[in-house]
Symmetry: C2
Subunit: 407 residues, 2 copies
């Protein structure tokens, strides 16, 4: 039993295993529940309580934050139980019913951990910044487009700010915003709450209006031929991302960090040759590097560094959320970067910094401060009390968006 397991077990005892008397009974339904569903619930101690009817099951568990919590069965065959306290913000989770990992039938579904599955939002003191409010609303559009690089139809989401459809003479800067590993293009518009964050910021005058393109950074390979006896022609799908199914075996070793081979080069080609031209042709963009930025979380941050650092003539600003740093050496050794780049933004959750992986290089705050001291417009942000999770990235977007395109 390692240290993390001990901590989790002690925390679980606090919330669940000892007795119901020790659980603070102020649970309220999660905002991520399906219509009409009372569970999952969250209490003021940030414990997550789930409930599922499984009359003939022998064992039902809640699997959240890497820990499994046993539920208890009542006389009607309804299983109920709760987790240890979770961090503020959004978490993926699942149920385990007699050994089967399944989504909770009561929650809405989100794509992460390489699956569509359950999610729960734990209240945060600052949740107002990503709340849906009666302010002028932008919108998120679901867009399919032909990719020459991939020889396939691809799929992305595009946020346009309030007024885009009525103020037809105005042109806008564009941020290309990427999800993390095991996630897809649904991450930022759904659990990332991109539209709500931006609408609220713009309504308060804290951000300039800009377009945000959220594409899929993993699926960058051509589809294989349709197998066997499937019907001719395009498949009748496309409502959802069709990632892994179409990647096919690549016959080459996997790259670092468990990323698919070609994750940066392949996406760079798609981004530069297909996505940006599609966006500039169909949206009223300001199509120059000063008004084009790239940012991403985790794997998407690494992709941002791999693509936007060497191509500062295309992306004049970059943001890396929980995905690495830009050092003075990176800046000085990359032709054109010092002249072209207008903004570097680096962020992490505080718990990531406490448990920092040395493989990611030096202390990111020290490195970013050095970059700023060297005369670069570089900013460092720490999300308090959060780990490698969406609350860190919602807050990072909130901070980054207030700096972007203000030149």
């Amino acid at each position: 039993m390692n240290r993390l397991t001990v901590i989790a077990t002690v925390a679980a005892l606090c919330c669940s295993a000892v007795s119901f008397a020790q659980v603070k009974e102020d649970f309220v339904p999660s905002p991520n529940n399906q219509p009409g569903k009372q569970y999952p619930m969250v209490n003021s101690e940030r414990c997550v309580r789930v409930q599922v009817k499984a009359p003939e099951a022998q064992s039902v568990k809640l699997d959240i934050g890497g820990v499994k919590y046993e539920l208890n069965k009542d006389a009607e065959g309804v299983w109920t139980g709760e987790s240890a306290p979770q961090d503020e913000g959004f978490h993926y989770y699942q149920l385990n019913i007699d050994g089967a990992d399944v989504p909770d039938p009561s929650s809405l579904y989100y794509y992460g951990a390489s699956r569509w599955g359950s999610g729960v939002d734990v209240p945060a003191p600052d949740q107002d910044f990503y709340a849906l409010k009666n302010v002028p609303q932008g919108k998120v559009s679901e867009v399919y487009y032909w990719s020459e690089v991939n020889q396939a139809m691809r799929h992305c989401f595009i946020y346009t700010p309030a007024g885009y459809d009525t103020d037809l003479d105005k042109r806008y800067p564009v941020l290309y915003l990427q999800h993390g590993g095991g996630e897809n293009e649904y991450g930022w518009p759904q659990q990332g709450r991109t539209a709500q964050i931006m609408d609220n910021l713009i309504a308060e005058g804290k951000a300039v209006p800009f377009i945000i393109v959220m594409d899929n950074g993993t699926w960058t390979m051509p589809r294989p031929a349709a197998p066997g006896p499937r019907p001719e022609g395009p498949r009748p799908d496309g409502q959802r991302h069709r990632g892994g199914r179409h990647q096919g075996p690549q016959g080459r070793p996997q790259g670092g960090f468990g990323l698919p081979d070609g994750w940066a080069d392949g996406f760079m080609n798609t981004l530069v040759k297909d996505i940006i031209p599609m966006v500039d042709a169909n949206y009223r963009t300001i199509a120059d590097k000063d008004h084009r930025a790239m940012a991403g979380l985790s794997m998407g941050g690494m992709q941002t560094k791999a693509i936007a650092l060497p191509h500062s003539e295309i992306f004049g600003s970059l943001g890396i959320f929980s995905g690495g740093t830009i050092t003075v050496e990176d800046a000085d050794n990359t032709p054109g970067f010092r002249e072209n780049n207008r903004l570097v933004f680096i962020s992490f959750g505080s718990k990531e910094l406490e448990n920092r992986n040395p493989a990611f290089g030096g202390d990111p705050k020290v490195e970013t401060d050095k970059l700023a001291e060297s005369g670069h417009n570089a900013h460092f942000y720490v999300s308090p009390g959060t780990a490698h999770e969406w609350q860190s990235w919602r807050r990072s977007l909130y901070q980054y968006a207030q700096l972007l395109f203000k030149w």
Copy 2:
């Protein structure tokens, strides 16, 4: 055991219970699978095969089309089994694991039967009309707006055809298109494949380009106050429809067909006072009755009759898919309808007509033919081999869209 159950049981024996030797082994993955997942699969006999790992389970069933099929467990605890032949097109389904009704962790999720759950598409000979193709693409936008009627933020999807974002002088007709009971505003853009149907029709010159607004016809009541100790301010949700949760007890008896009380009046107010003004203010519409239509499936068709028949000065065309008819008496007894209405479109699945519920009135084909003979532009369509399911409604939209706004 009624006749339907006998048929289902015999069909189930054909596909599943006798032996694997009798199942045609040409299964291919469903287009509705999660990325990387091989199951569910469908064979050329339209049987659906599912697979789930549940090592400690005693019983796992596939629940589709109102019938439960037992799965078989292998030595690794993986359960596999298949259904009887299903109709062509899209079907909701779920798994039952030791008494727990849960989504299949391998499928994508759709809202129907009053839940987010699994869906599977069975190949159809005419599936090309709703396939994603490399033709000029419209897009579907997710839109939030303030509703005075509901005193709440509401949520809809709006399809705009290819060229809408670049041909800025052009104005468009609008179709208001409603889902059925137990469904929500995700139905038409997801399982309904509205964008693909329209993009393909427009690319072939078979339909004129128009805007389609897909809103929620069930959730029409103000939210109750937030319960107990929940945080102040709007909830940090909104990525998905929040239907039943917010309807609250209404304290009045339910109307016919199991519909919530107020389902038509409430939605009519929302539609006429909030949705149409929002659309006309934010989109380049042609804002008159000749260029505004309403249609819907099942409950949405009944709403269309309840709203658009008496308000032909607002909606100059109407479509009712599996939701009733417009009789000569309806037309003659509704002031203004004969003068204002440009198009009546009525449709059903052929299996609905075979098992017609007399409560819906006379034979809809006879009634529609009479309406046409009386001099009205009335059309009747039958979807061959389908029941009260999405394939009937995809085909209905395909037919209806080719008639609309061609005046």
